[in-house]
Amino acid sequence: MEVREIKALIALMSDHGLVELEIEDKKGKIRLVRGGVAHAVETNSVAPATAKPAARRSRAPEPSAELSRDGAAKPLELGENQRIIESPMVGTFYRASAPDAVPFVEEGATVRKGQTVCIIEAMKMMNEIEAPFAGRIVRILVENAQPVEYGQALMIMEVG
């Protein structure tokens, strides 16, 4: 499927308020999941398929037309057994316990449930973020020492 076609599908989804779309034809199969909807599952710190941009910029007070469009953040491609680790607070993301220390995890690392994967510093407090289940760190989405917001996707993990 071409990028042009995928774009058209995404536009269609947002026009009709669709959250998820799966299409199969001769050319293959595609599954699209729109972001911004992950907040429906606030009770869970691990929410599906959304990455939020760090500190959204929007210089101009554009009226409503733009508002309806931007509702969804850029979706993250997630495999079936992959989950996102979200930031439980606003703060600064650190991959290691000290500037010269070895990072808690690297991409590809296998982690136990409850193992510290990163730190969020908020109000001079170091909050250790733990792996919600045993598995593998597939991707780290945030650079070291970057500010993150509540609910922002930090890492992609694979169950298993």
Binding site: H39, A55, R57, L67, S68, V90, G91, M123, G151
Partner: protein, 461 residues
């Protein structure tokens, strides 16, 4: 000049603060809960940060989350707006300790005025008239309340020492009613403010709620910007505010204004604030409380004085001195504000949902402060105030004519609003004459909502 100002609020006041910052050239950082990701203040600020889930305790009321956002994203000032953390002394103090300038008074002034019995004592000592009421630190036990009530004579008003927004407030007309309602009011206060301390005040029949806007700098200069009559209230919640007060004579205005300035002076207050009085039909007035923040109805004063109060609050927080002397303040015309609530006008219950179309009125002297837009979903988690319509003209008569036209023009589809109630009030002969008191709105209360403990205002004492 502030480098970046964090707006610790949402809705209309967040928009108002962002606009003021734009005029001053200060970059803004807005914070929001996940329920507000599509809110206008998120779009209008230069930067926005999500700080928590929908529940206010975990987002707009969470001091660590807001401070963390300010420090992480490099803000050096915090504007609290109204509601939420605006009158929380601990928040003001935490801001200062984190090196952030809190746009408002000092923490000790917030705490002092938040302790209503203490504020009463200080005002009494300073010669500002207060209503007869409980002395000392207030009462927690029913028998002390009964003793106070006997001394004052019924009817009395039960109030929460830490109160605000009408919570923990009850009018009682005899000892039996006091016995029944004192524990209820105390429980309400405990739930809302974690405080069992109450106090009693003599209840004044047919009184008007008249408040004075004051502005103070860090150098002990204090002026007032005239009054607002906020007597049109439902259950101690303001619905319509106007300036000038239709019954205030220039002499009385001067006297009350001086008392308001004195109230701020005796404590060394700084930044914007409001001194609330009850005005009796005989022209006697009494201090009720001081609000240590910008008020919802600040726009009314802005229209008649031409002074931008939100910009002023930011300027004063930057340590700038007052530019005006009292005699340089002039008042022009009449302004009335209508609070538009997302509520069923017949039953007075909230009406959240999607605003399918929003068409605000316009024209000369018509100002709309709102965070609504077409397709916006009014969340269930927060205050139902969705817009403020402020109408201004040379005379009260013309302002009312203009307001009727503007309210008829105002279209909000998809949810219900109290616009029909405003139109009814604008056709009420008593309102038109300016002849009203805090009990006015009871006549428009749906029968099922009427509280049996509060007889109609017409029953004079």
């Amino acid at each position: 000049m502030f480098k970046k100002l964090l707006v610790a609020n949402r809705g209309t006041i967040a928009i108002r603060i962002i606009r003021a910052c734009r005029e001053l050239g200060i970059p803004t950082l807005s914070v929001y809960s996940t329920a507000d990701k599509d809110a206008l203040h998120v779009r209008m600020a230069d930067e926005s940060v999500c700080i928590g889930p929908p529940a206010a305790e975990d987002s707009y009321l969470s001091i660590p989350s807001i401070l963390s956002a300010a420090l992480t994203y490099g803000a050096d000032a915090v504007h609290p707006g109204y509601g939420f953390l605006s009158e929380n002394g601990d928040f003001a103090e935490a801001c200062q300790r984190s090196g952030l300038q809190f746009v408002g008074p000092r923490a000790r002034h917030i705490r002092l005025m938040g302790d209503k019995p203490r504020a009463r004592r200080i005002m009494k000592r300073a010669g500002v008239p207060v209503l007869p009421g409980s002395d000392g630190k207030g009462v927690t036990e029913l028998r002390d309340a009964l003793a106070d009530a006997k001394r004052l004579g019924f009817p009395v008003l039960i109030k929460a020492a830490a109160g605000g927004g009408g919570k923990g407030m009850r009018i009682v007309r005899d000892a039996k009613e006091l016995e029944r309602l004192f524990p209820v009011a105390r429980a309400e206060s405990e739930a809302a403010f974690s405080s069992r301390t109450m106090y009693l005040e003599k209840y004044l029949e047919h009184a008007r709620h008249v408040e004075f806007q004051i502005v103070a700098d860090n150098f002990r200069n204090v002026i007032h910007l005239g009054e607002r009559d906020c007597s049109i209230q439902r259950r101690h919640q303001k619905v319509i505010e106007e300036s000038p007060c239709p019954v205030l004579t220039p002499r009385l205005r001067e006297k009350m204004g001086k008392a308001a300035v004195r109230a701020a002076e005796v404590v060394g207050y700084s930044n914007v604030g409001t001194v609330e009085f009850l005005l009796a039909p005989n022209g006697e007035f009494y201090f009720i409380e001081m609000n240590t923040r910008i008020q919802v109805e600040h726009g009314v004063t802005e229209m008649v004085t031409g002074i931008d109060l939100v910009k002023e609050s930011i300027r004063l927080a930057q340590g700038e001195p007052l530019k005006l002397k009292q005699r340089q303040v002039t008042f022009s015309g009449s302004a009335i504000e209508f609070r538009i609530y997302a509520e069923d006008p017949d039953r007075h219950i909230p009406s959240p949902g999607i605003v399918s179309s929003h068409h605000p009125p316009g024209g000369l002297g018509v100002r709309v402060e709102t965070a609504l837009y077409d397709g916006y979903r009014v969340p269930v988690h927060y205050d139902p105030l969705i817009a403020k319509l402020i109408v201004h003209s040379d005379s009260r008569e013309l302002t009312m004519v203009r307001a009727r036209a503007a309210l008829r023009e105002y279209l909000v589809d998809g949810i219900r609003t109290n616009i029909p109630l405003h139109l009814k009030i604008l056709h009420d002969p008593d309102f038109i004459r300016g002849d009203y008191s805090t009990g006015f709105l009871k006549r428009y209360e749906p029968p099922s909502n009427r509280r049996p403990v509060e007889p109609p205002a017409a029953k004079a004492s």
